[in-house]
Symmetry: C2
Subunit: 213 residues, 2 copies
């Protein structure tokens, strides 16, 4: 199925179509990124097409045309949040050598992502996974898919570190579960004013990175 913006431009000249398509895609991105910010604060359920249109000075019908349903808007917000997260956390860490160095880079980037913060409400997934864990559907699938990838990234670096003998053997799934859990807890603790939370998370991660004897 073609995008609404594409269908909108179907009856005009090619140059105009290209520009309209581009403008539609850019507007869609801008709205989705803003929606991710709002959802980090108020949850994906707080999103409404009318509210976003008002906040961004756009027409409600225009936003409606770009997204269609609230669910598609929510999924677009999750995808936008994921792209921003990959740019802020995962891609920069990929320049570090695999194993311990990359795991440290991933956790440091993650801590910066919630301390800076990238989204005004802190971790986008912490704010929304707890809301959507009981609601099957495309929004939950998008949230869960990202969370699984993130856990997979941590597990992968731990496996690499064990495999190359960089760290002592350990249960990588359990360690990844714990690292993700303390990072998530640190996000909430930081937002509640516990300035020690990031260091607690670092100390837990360090605990898993003991060099093999």
């Amino acid at each position: 199925m073609s995008e609404p913006a594409e269908r909108l431009g179907a009856d005009v000249g090619a140059g105009t179509t290209d520009r309209r398509l581009l403008r539609g895609a850019q507007t869609r991105q801008t709205i989705a990124r803003y929606a991710a910010d709002v959802a980090s604060l108020e949850g994906l359920n707080g999103l409404s097409i009318g509210r976003l249109a008002t906040d961004l000075g756009l027409s409600k019908s225009g936003v409606q045309t770009l997204f269609g349903t609230k669910e598609r808007l929510q999924v677009a917000a999750v995808e936008s949040a994921r792209a921003a997260f990959l740019d802020a956390v995962v891609h920069p860490a990929s320049s570090a050598p695999r194993g311990v160095a990359r795991l440290r880079a991933l956790t440091e980037r993650w801590i910066a992502y919630v301390e800076a913060p990238l989204f005004p409400g802190g971790c986008f997934w912490t704010a929304n996974l707890a809301d959507f864990d009981s609601r099957p559907g495309k929004v939950r699938d998008a949230l869960v898919g990202h969370h699984r990838d993130w856990l997979g990234a941590i597990t992968g670096e731990l496996q690499e570190a064990v495999h190359t003998g960089e760290i002592a053997d350990l249960d990588v799934d359990l360690a990844a579960f714990q690292i993700d859990a303390v990072l998530t807890a640190a996000n909430i603790a930081l937002r509640l004013g516990d300035n020690d939370a990031a260091d607690k998370a670092r100390r837990v991660v360090d605990g898993f990175l003991t060099p093999a004897r």
Copy 2:
């Protein structure tokens, strides 16, 4: 300030006042407990006086009289959730001897609380703390107060176990932070279908309870 139910009954005979007061208090408790169930699924922001009245077959004006504002309704839901949590988790565990046994009882009761579950959306605080961490006010204070007490309970049993030499010395604050973090992560993982999550949490707790040599 007197409760609305009390003020309502001020101009009638004493026997009638007592009955009305009792009935008002019972209705208020029933509504608050139902509100906690709804909030575990949809978040405290999903609560509305009109919706609760419809669901429970009460008049909107009656519910309005009992709670007044949405914020008071939200705080009442948190207090009701706290009372239910204390009854299900903390009070039963208090029959176990202090230290390791009570910490195990607390964590087992906690796992049962989310596996059963006590609230249809799983852990009430996981569902709501992430939403309210960015919103100062009475609702956040009520949520945070409970969470601090829960962390305090874990810390207290760890301290006791270290103090009596039951377990090796450790950083009790960091250990309590980790135990709380993995329980919270287990709640979400369980709701997303990871049946291994409760065992992961148990293994983490066990890791802290190594007997002192």
